[in-house]
């Protein structure tokens, strides 16, 4: 078939090898450029747990956190088993601060009433 196609000058139906090369490069570079260190992942995990436990009881030892990807993006996949939602955990942070500003000083939302620090999570380059 290939021979006939070439003989009659027909175009190959499958995507060109150049397109394929580009696609493969784009996928591999997404991975190459994602430089999440184990330390960063560990810090992220600790802070996430701190946030989540304000709202719900979670099964900490069973938390799974890993990097994954599909064809176009890198994903951080966290599997967090929830044991129980805490009573009165509904509403946004702002709503609750308005109701009772003292919540903040009581350390309900962040330890020692400090605003949470910005976590600097960045992939190595661009994008």
């Amino acid at each position: 078939m290939d021979f006939l196609r070439r003989l009659f000058g027909g175009k190959d139906n499958s995507s060109s090898s150049a397109q394929e090369a580009k696609k493969r490069l784009q996928i591999v570079l997404i991975n190459d450029r994602t430089d999440i260190s184990p330390q960063l992942l560990e810090n992220l995990r600790a802070e996430m747990i701190a946030v989540l436990t304000k709202y719900m009881d979670i099964d900490e030892p069973r938390i799974e956190m890993d990097r994954g990807h599909d064809e176009s993006a890198v994903a951080l996949i966290a599997n967090i088993p929830v044991l129980r939602i805490k009573r009165g955990a509904g509403g946004t942070l702002e709503d609750r601060f308005e109701d009772n500003p003292d919540d903040r000083s009581e350390g309900k939302f962040s330890p020692r009433g400090e605003p949470p620090r910005n976590q600097n999570i960045k992939s190595r380059r661009r994008k």
Partner: protein, 266 residues
């Protein structure tokens, strides 16, 4: 005024770093600039062969660093053009014979006497690359339109960016316009899209590159083959001239461009 120090690098081996270094160095020298090409590939030196100066190498840059000789004793002057010098690498030493700091100091030692210091970098991302990149202000990253070369180029670009080199510009080497037209080779757009970096020139695949290396006479001395023209254009762009790129899609049109296409052998 001190020299601009430019590292020519790629990550992957065999994509044309040394050939690019030699030809850009010759082009810059022909444009009247004082140029030194430094072979930083300790143990695997080749720039001397590509430039045809191998028989005149006496000392190397490690001798300079270790103060076995003076800087100007190690510099090999290219007699074919004014103001072009080669600073060879040591052939019987290893990459760990020098440190990035020592390489930086060597570059600083060269700055006052030249307009351009071109550093021909070894393949890889280890010590040899780090040494070569340490002293550089700017970088040229050489790639070919092939998947492994582009991937490695991306890695190197990331490292150069984190080292604060600027500008970092891309040379696409061994480009085959015919194959690109048939969608069987990554186009310049594809490569730039993937790497998001500025392009400084496209060098077409050209048999005369091999012939030139056989003779040890960089193409740009004669300057009539397609690759020689491309390298001369790159040198002009380094000097800030606005030389238009040879656009692939222009090969479809007639007239001047068509004759250029014919001249380039596509």
């Amino acid at each position: 005024m001190g020299a601009r120090v430019i590292v020519i690098t790629s990550g992957k081996g065999g994509v044309g770093k040394t050939t690019s270094t030699a030809n850009i160095a010759v082009s810059l020298a022909k444009a009247g600039k004082r140029v030194v090409a430094v072979d930083t590939d300790i143990g695997l030196r080749n720039l001397d062969m590509v430039m045809g100066l191998e028989s005149r190498v006496v000392y190397n840059f490690i001798d300079v660093i270790e103060k076995n000789c003076k800087l100007n004793q190690a510099l090999v002057r290219d007699k074919r053009v004014e103001n072009l010098y080669l600073l060879p690498a040591a052939q019987t030493r290893t990459k760990d014979a020098v440190s990035p700091t020592q390489m930086s100091e060597l570059c600083d030692q060269l700055r006052p006497d030249f307009d351009f210091v071109l550093l021909d970098c070894p393949a890889g991302i280890e010590g040899g690359f780090k040494n070569a990149a340490a002293g550089a202000d700017e970088a040229l990253v050489v790639t070919t339109p092939e998947v492994p070369a582009v991937r490695d180029a991306d890695r190197i670009i990331g490292m150069l960016e984190s080292m604060g080199k600027s500008p970092i510009r891309l040379v696409i080497n061994r480009f085959r316009a015919m194959m690109v037209q048939n969608n069987e080779m990554l186009s310049q757009e594809d490569i730039l899209d993937v790497l998001s970096i500025k392009l400084i020139g496209i060098v077409p695949e050209d048999d005369s590159v091999i012939k030139a290396t056989n003779r040890g006479e960089p193409l740009t001395f004669t300057q009539n083959s397609p690759a020689a023209l491309a390298y001369a254009n790159i040198a002009a762009r380094i000097l800030g001239e606005n030389v238009p790129l040879l656009q692939l899609d222009s090969y479809h049109s007639k007239g001047f461009v068509a004759s250029l296409k014919k001249m380039l052998g596509f």
